[in-house]
Symmetry: C2
Subunit: 122 residues, 2 copies
Protein backbone atom coordinates (compact mmCIF):
# COMPACT_ATOMS: atom_id res chain seq x y z
CA UNK A 1 0.00 0.00 0.00
CA UNK A 2 1.18 3.48 -0.83
CA UNK A 3 1.32 5.18 2.58
CA UNK A 4 3.38 8.29 3.33
CA UNK A 5 4.11 10.03 6.62
CA UNK A 6 4.18 13.67 5.61
CA UNK A 7 6.46 14.97 8.36
CA UNK A 8 9.20 12.58 7.14
CA UNK A 9 9.12 14.26 3.72
CA UNK A 10 9.31 17.88 4.89
CA UNK A 11 12.55 19.69 4.05
CA UNK A 12 13.40 23.35 3.51
CA UNK A 13 15.96 24.96 1.26
CA UNK A 14 17.44 28.38 1.97
CA UNK A 15 17.73 28.95 -1.81
CA UNK A 16 14.09 28.60 -2.78
CA UNK A 17 10.65 27.20 -2.15
CA UNK A 18 10.50 23.39 -2.25
CA UNK A 19 7.92 21.27 -4.09
CA UNK A 20 8.09 17.73 -2.71
CA UNK A 21 6.06 15.01 -4.47
CA UNK A 22 4.16 12.79 -2.01
CA UNK A 23 2.87 10.31 -4.59
CA UNK A 24 3.68 9.61 -8.21
CA UNK A 25 0.33 9.49 -9.99
CA UNK A 26 -0.75 9.95 -13.61
CA UNK A 27 -4.03 11.46 -12.36
CA UNK A 28 -2.86 14.40 -10.27
CA UNK A 29 -0.05 16.20 -8.46
CA UNK A 30 -0.13 15.70 -4.69
CA UNK A 31 2.76 17.66 -3.22
CA UNK A 32 4.14 19.33 -0.15
CA UNK A 33 5.24 22.93 -0.66
CA UNK A 34 7.66 24.34 1.91
CA UNK A 35 8.51 28.04 2.06
CA UNK A 36 10.87 29.80 4.43
CA UNK A 37 10.03 33.41 5.34
CA UNK A 38 10.28 35.56 2.21
CA UNK A 39 10.14 32.64 -0.26
CA UNK A 40 7.46 32.60 -2.94
CA UNK A 41 5.96 30.90 -5.97
CA UNK A 42 5.65 33.35 -8.86
CA UNK A 43 2.32 34.02 -10.62
CA UNK A 44 1.20 31.07 -12.71
CA UNK A 45 -1.99 29.54 -14.14
CA UNK A 46 -2.88 25.98 -15.05
CA UNK A 47 -5.18 26.22 -18.05
CA UNK A 48 -7.29 23.15 -17.36
CA UNK A 49 -6.42 22.01 -13.83
CA UNK A 50 -7.65 23.16 -10.45
CA UNK A 51 -5.07 23.78 -7.72
CA UNK A 52 -6.06 23.36 -4.09
CA UNK A 53 -3.78 24.52 -1.30
CA UNK A 54 -4.23 23.37 2.30
CA UNK A 55 -1.98 24.99 4.90
CA UNK A 56 -0.47 22.60 7.45
CA UNK A 57 1.92 25.02 9.21
CA UNK A 58 2.56 28.75 9.17
CA UNK A 59 0.68 31.50 7.35
CA UNK A 60 0.66 31.57 3.55
CA UNK A 61 -0.20 34.68 1.55
CA UNK A 62 -2.06 33.64 -1.61
CA UNK A 63 -3.13 35.76 -4.53
CA UNK A 64 -5.70 34.69 -7.13
CA UNK A 65 -6.48 36.92 -10.13
CA UNK A 66 -5.42 40.02 -8.18
CA UNK A 67 -7.20 39.29 -4.88
CA UNK A 68 -5.14 38.15 -1.93
CA UNK A 69 -5.64 36.48 1.45
CA UNK A 70 -3.52 35.15 4.31
CA UNK A 71 -4.24 31.46 4.91
CA UNK A 72 -3.60 30.02 8.36
CA UNK A 73 -3.00 26.38 9.25
CA UNK A 74 -6.26 24.50 8.74
CA UNK A 75 -7.46 26.68 5.86
CA UNK A 76 -7.84 25.61 2.23
CA UNK A 77 -7.93 27.65 -0.98
CA UNK A 78 -9.23 26.61 -4.38
CA UNK A 79 -7.60 28.16 -7.44
CA UNK A 80 -9.90 27.35 -10.37
CA UNK A 81 -8.44 26.26 -13.72
CA UNK A 82 -7.29 29.32 -15.64
CA UNK A 83 -6.83 31.64 -12.64
CA UNK A 84 -3.45 33.29 -12.12
CA UNK A 85 -2.15 32.60 -8.63
CA UNK A 86 0.93 33.23 -6.57
CA UNK A 87 1.99 32.12 -3.10
CA UNK A 88 4.29 33.81 -0.61
CA UNK A 89 5.50 33.28 2.91
CA UNK A 90 5.04 36.81 4.19
CA UNK A 91 5.29 35.74 7.85
CA UNK A 92 8.07 34.89 10.31
CA UNK A 93 7.53 31.12 10.51
CA UNK A 94 8.18 28.36 7.95
CA UNK A 95 5.17 27.36 5.85
CA UNK A 96 4.19 23.78 4.98
CA UNK A 97 1.24 23.28 2.63
CA UNK A 98 -0.42 20.30 0.95
CA UNK A 99 -1.08 21.11 -2.71
CA UNK A 100 -3.22 19.18 -5.17
CA UNK A 101 -3.28 19.94 -8.90
CA UNK A 102 -5.86 17.93 -10.86
CA UNK A 103 -6.36 16.64 -13.39
CA UNK A 104 -2.65 16.10 -13.88
CA UNK A 105 -1.61 18.88 -16.29
CA UNK A 106 -0.06 16.38 -18.74
CA UNK A 107 -3.31 14.42 -18.77
CA UNK A 108 -5.35 17.61 -19.33
CA UNK A 109 -3.04 18.49 -22.24
CA UNK A 110 -3.64 15.16 -23.94
CA UNK A 111 -7.40 15.66 -23.60
CA UNK A 112 -7.10 18.97 -25.37
CA UNK A 113 -5.65 17.29 -28.44
CA UNK A 114 -9.06 16.05 -29.58
CA UNK A 115 -10.01 17.36 -33.05
CA UNK A 116 -10.88 21.04 -33.01
CA UNK A 117 -14.30 21.84 -34.55
CA UNK A 118 -12.65 24.70 -36.46
CA UNK A 119 -13.28 28.44 -36.61
CA UNK A 120 -16.68 28.16 -38.32
CA UNK A 121 -18.18 25.85 -35.69
CA UNK A 122 -18.85 28.41 -32.97
Amino acid sequence: MEVRTLRELVRFDAEKKQKIPIFDSPQLYYDLYTLLPGQRQRPFAFKRSDKIVYVLEGVLRASVDGESADLAAGQALRVPAGAVNSLENAGDEPVVALVVVAPHPECAKRRKKRPDPGPGAG
Copy 2:
Protein backbone atom coordinates in the same frame (compact mmCIF):
# COMPACT_ATOMS: atom_id res chain seq x y z
CA MET B 1 -11.43 33.92 -3.23
CA GLU B 2 -12.60 30.47 -2.31
CA VAL B 3 -11.17 29.95 1.17
CA ARG B 4 -12.50 27.39 3.67
CA THR B 5 -11.65 26.84 7.32
CA LEU B 6 -11.89 23.08 7.65
CA ARG B 7 -12.71 22.88 11.35
CA GLU B 8 -15.86 24.95 10.69
CA LEU B 9 -17.10 22.28 8.28
CA VAL B 10 -16.52 19.23 10.49
CA ARG B 11 -19.68 17.48 11.70
CA PHE B 12 -20.41 13.93 12.75
CA ASP B 13 -23.56 11.87 12.42
CA ALA B 14 -24.35 8.96 14.74
CA GLU B 15 -26.16 7.24 11.83
CA LYS B 16 -23.29 7.03 9.37
CA LYS B 17 -20.00 8.29 8.03
CA GLN B 18 -20.20 11.85 6.66
CA LYS B 19 -18.77 13.09 3.34
CA ILE B 20 -18.61 16.89 3.48
CA PRO B 21 -17.70 18.76 0.28
CA ILE B 22 -15.13 21.51 0.87
CA PHE B 23 -15.22 22.94 -2.65
CA ASP B 24 -17.51 22.52 -5.62
CA SER B 25 -15.24 21.84 -8.57
CA PRO B 26 -15.75 20.18 -11.96
CA GLN B 27 -12.15 18.91 -11.79
CA LEU B 28 -12.11 16.86 -8.59
CA TYR B 29 -13.76 15.94 -5.32
CA TYR B 30 -12.13 17.60 -2.29
CA ASP B 31 -14.01 16.42 0.79
CA LEU B 32 -13.84 15.90 4.51
CA TYR B 33 -14.78 12.42 5.68
CA THR B 34 -15.81 12.08 9.32
CA LEU B 35 -16.25 8.69 10.98
CA LEU B 36 -17.26 7.94 14.54
CA PRO B 37 -15.85 4.74 16.10
CA GLY B 38 -17.27 1.75 14.22
CA GLN B 39 -18.35 3.72 11.13
CA ARG B 40 -17.07 2.72 7.72
CA GLN B 41 -17.12 3.25 3.99
CA ARG B 42 -17.86 0.00 2.16
CA PRO B 43 -15.53 -1.41 -0.51
CA PHE B 44 -15.61 0.62 -3.70
CA ALA B 45 -13.45 1.38 -6.75
CA PHE B 46 -13.27 4.40 -9.02
CA LYS B 47 -12.43 3.06 -12.47
CA ARG B 48 -10.47 6.06 -13.73
CA SER B 49 -9.84 8.29 -10.71
CA ASP B 50 -7.23 8.19 -7.98
CA LYS B 51 -8.37 8.65 -4.39
CA ILE B 52 -5.99 10.14 -1.85
CA VAL B 53 -6.79 10.07 1.85
CA TYR B 54 -4.95 12.27 4.36
CA VAL B 55 -5.79 11.72 8.03
CA LEU B 56 -6.26 14.90 10.08
CA GLU B 57 -7.51 13.34 13.33
CA GLY B 58 -7.83 9.84 14.76
CA VAL B 59 -6.70 6.52 13.29
CA LEU B 60 -8.27 5.26 10.07
CA ARG B 61 -8.11 1.63 8.98
CA ALA B 62 -7.84 1.46 5.21
CA SER B 63 -7.94 -1.53 2.93
CA VAL B 64 -6.77 -1.53 -0.71
CA ASP B 65 -7.17 -4.64 -2.87
CA GLY B 66 -7.10 -6.88 0.20
CA GLU B 67 -4.14 -5.28 2.03
CA SER B 68 -4.85 -3.12 5.07
CA ALA B 69 -3.10 -0.51 7.20
CA ASP B 70 -3.92 1.81 10.10
CA LEU B 71 -3.28 5.44 9.14
CA ALA B 72 -2.51 7.94 11.90
CA ALA B 73 -2.94 11.70 11.75
CA GLY B 74 -0.33 13.10 9.35
CA GLN B 75 -0.30 10.03 7.08
CA ALA B 76 -1.57 9.86 3.50
CA LEU B 77 -2.68 6.91 1.38
CA ARG B 78 -2.99 6.73 -2.41
CA VAL B 79 -5.64 4.41 -3.83
CA PRO B 80 -4.85 4.09 -7.56
CA ALA B 81 -7.66 4.16 -10.12
CA GLY B 82 -9.30 0.74 -10.31
CA ALA B 83 -8.28 -0.48 -6.83
CA VAL B 84 -11.01 -1.62 -4.45
CA ASN B 85 -10.77 0.22 -1.16
CA SER B 86 -12.65 0.50 2.09
CA LEU B 87 -12.23 2.72 5.15
CA GLU B 88 -13.14 2.07 8.76
CA ASN B 89 -12.80 3.79 12.10
CA ALA B 90 -11.60 0.80 14.11
CA GLY B 91 -10.36 2.99 16.99
CA ASP B 92 -11.90 4.79 19.97
CA GLU B 93 -11.59 8.38 18.72
CA PRO B 94 -13.46 10.22 15.95
CA VAL B 95 -11.68 10.29 12.58
CA VAL B 96 -11.43 13.32 10.31
CA ALA B 97 -9.78 12.85 6.90
CA LEU B 98 -9.19 15.00 3.83
CA VAL B 99 -10.07 13.03 0.71
CA VAL B 100 -9.29 13.93 -2.90
CA VAL B 101 -10.76 12.02 -5.85
CA ALA B 102 -9.38 13.12 -9.23
CA PRO B 103 -10.09 13.51 -12.01
CA HIS B 104 -13.71 14.14 -11.03
CA PRO B 105 -15.44 10.81 -11.79
CA GLU B 106 -18.04 12.51 -14.02
CA CYS B 107 -15.26 14.15 -16.02
CA ALA B 108 -13.41 10.83 -16.32
CA LYS B 109 -16.64 9.23 -17.59
CA ARG B 110 -17.05 11.83 -20.33
CA ARG B 111 -13.46 11.23 -21.44
CA LYS B 112 -14.23 7.57 -21.88
CA LYS B 113 -17.03 8.40 -24.34
CA ARG B 114 -14.59 9.21 -27.13
CA PRO B 115 -15.11 6.96 -30.17
CA ASP B 116 -13.97 3.44 -29.53
CA PRO B 117 -11.49 2.17 -32.15
CA GLY B 118 -13.57 -1.01 -32.38
CA PRO B 119 -12.79 -4.68 -31.73
CA GLY B 120 -10.48 -5.03 -34.73
CA ALA B 121 -8.19 -2.16 -33.70
CA GLY B 122 -6.29 -3.89 -30.91
